[in-house]
Symmetry: C2
């Protein structure tokens, strides 16, 4: 490897993200899902009935981006929007049966990929990594400022 520059960890994280994103995207192609769509599906499976704005916040993206992502999922018949009976501004979004099935198919694929990548590290080490990553994400908001979001 190149021991060249003890790089800013920022760019290490960037490369890790690009790499992981690429691998996961590749794995999701066979399920006809994008990474963003998969993330949204995951959120909605865990928390049915979220609004568009909720999804946007959960996946750290702009409301409108979330709207477009959900639009794609809706066109694919994987989610459905329903009017929110207690708030006429917002819509509740639910996975359709097809959406649940699709997510159920895709999830093991992604998990397998991540498990393959995590191989070689002890649970303690992975816990450290996890803690560090969480610390970084908190630093943005807890440090005082807002996150621009990708």
């Amino acid at each position: 490897m190149d021991a060249a520059l003890e790089p800013c960890s920022t760019f290490l994280v960037r490369h890790a993200w690009l790499a992981l994103r690429g691998v996961v995207a590749e794995a999701l192609v066979q399920h006809d899902l994008s990474v963003a769509q998969f993330a949204s599906l995951r959120m909605l499976d865990e928390s049915p009935g979220l609004s568009v704005a909720d999804v946007a916040r959960k996946v750290s993206t702009a409301r409108q981006s979330a709207n477009e992502i959900l639009g794609g999922l809706e066109r694919a018949g994987l989610v459905e929007r329903r009017p929110n009976p207690s708030d006429r501004r917002s819509q509740q979004i639910f996975l359709t049966e097809a959406g649940r099935v699709r997510l159920g198919e895709a999830m093991p694929t992604v998990e397998a990929v991540e498990a393959r990548l995590a191989a070689g590290f002890t649970p303690e080490e992975l816990a450290v990594v996890n803690a560090w990553l969480v610390r970084m994400t908190e630093a943005a908001t807890g440090g005082g400022e807002e996150i621009p979001a990708l």
Copy 2:
């Protein structure tokens, strides 16, 4: 915060990247540099005379994106392109004196930010994190290929 799902590490990394990017971008505003520009400046300081394609590979971006980034840096007078005497297709790119000065000013800012974020972790822990991140980036290329250094 939401301790909800033990998430795919992929998305943890994404959030960490977004957060770090935000913090670093904020720190670089005062130096009138974007994150991508800072990264390019760094590469060129370490390896003067790189071509546009070289920079693109090193920062993991498309040739054209690198071209645009370098265009901005050139307009700002921070880098200069010179014809490559031994390859008439490519250009060699060098930092100008102003570029070196600007990088010298910005670097401590970024390092300070990262140091602040790394506080609370032992060197051993940070080494583990580093190793994990590198492992992730390597995984993208199929497990054994080259991946840029920054």
